[in-house]
Symmetry: C2
Subunit: 173 residues, 2 copies
DNA sequence: TTTTCCATGTAACTCGTTACATGATTTC
DNA sequence: GAAATCATGTAACGAGTTACATGGAAAA
């Protein structure tokens, strides 16, 4: 039973303030790109679903002659549900099976040189991702988004170290 | 374009020797539980698909009056495809977004005590997973499955350390 | 004047899981 | 006599992505 992370994310964003879908999608795109890859259609659909379940309420709104919006607010039941999802999500965490484990199993089907070259590419990608996250604007005191980014940095550092050790074992330059 | 890890896994297992689906599924269930959660029906379906694409060939076989089997062998084209998937998979690795990042974003919606309690549960789960992987029978010299398990151990250790540091920051006992 | 922004969706599709079916055989 | 093993699948479902539609207003 995987915790419904996308619903948790949307509810969490609505905990701060009532928002309409476009607004939420923009926030995700601009600030949470490293954390989630949820697509806009998906967000709209889930907001709909949450409204159907009365975890959020929706009221229509219009500004000038802009397209009409649906402003979502989290309900009392929604807050309970959010907290329940949050507790489960925090307690459980990842499954321990990480993406990218399977290719490793077959490393020895490549020559040492080729394996090293692939791993170096991977290492560079990890370094780039680290660099990117380190230059991200900080918001708080290790809370909120920053905490998640911090988590990613830690794991990316470990990943980088590990790749380097494998390259060494393979006798790379 | 996420690398097709499941196809890579099946092709990789067929690189060692020709096998029938049941055999493959058994191996996965007994030896790769920490690495993948692919279901049997899924494996059968993908083997079918790979046969359709001529990446593997299938021949029927029957032993005594057991149910007939389909023994799959990887073809020359299949080996090429396998190596291509392998190179991509090794070079790319994970996206940097890890499962369990989202709940972290909302940690401060819980009281410090409750957050600590959740994280301690998570820490215990990580420790259990570490323990389990450390007691797994080793096969080779840091190659094959062992390498993937090694990778998981490294990341789980980092995860554990990180959780401990967060607990400390929150003033946990 | 073409592009981008605003704002919400629908329809078709992919990928994978769940639950079930089959039927002989060996084990409890 | 009941249950597990062997061996392969099918059908229904669910979650999410992709590509597209809409239509006015503001920006390039």
């Amino acid at each position: 039973m995987p915790v419904d992370e996308r619903a948790l994310l949307l509810l969490g964003l609505l905990m701060t303030q009532s928002q309409h879908g476009y607004q939420i999608n923009e926030f995700i795109e601009k600030n949470l790109a490293t954390i989630t890859d949820m697509k806009k259609s998906t967000a709209y659909a889930i907001l709909d679903r949450l409204a159907g379940a009365a975890y959020v309420s929706a009221r229509a709104e219009q500004e000038g002659n802009r397209p009409p919006r649906k402003v979502y607010s989290i309900t009392a039941t929604g807050e309970d549900y959010f907290l329940a999802l949050l507790r489960r999500g925090l307690s459980i965490g990842g499954s321990g099976a990480f993406a990218g484990d399977i290719p490793l199993m077959f490393l020895d089907h490549l020559s040492a040189e080729e394996a090293v070259s692939c791993l170096q590419t991977r290492l560079e990608s990890v370094q780039d991702q680290l660099e990117h996250r380190r230059h991200l604007p900080r918001h708080g005191f290790g809370r909120g988004v920053d905490l998640a980014v911090d988590h990613q940095i830690t794991l990316l550092e470990a990943e980088g170290q590990w790749i380097r050790s494998v390259i060494e074992r393979l006798g790379g330059d």
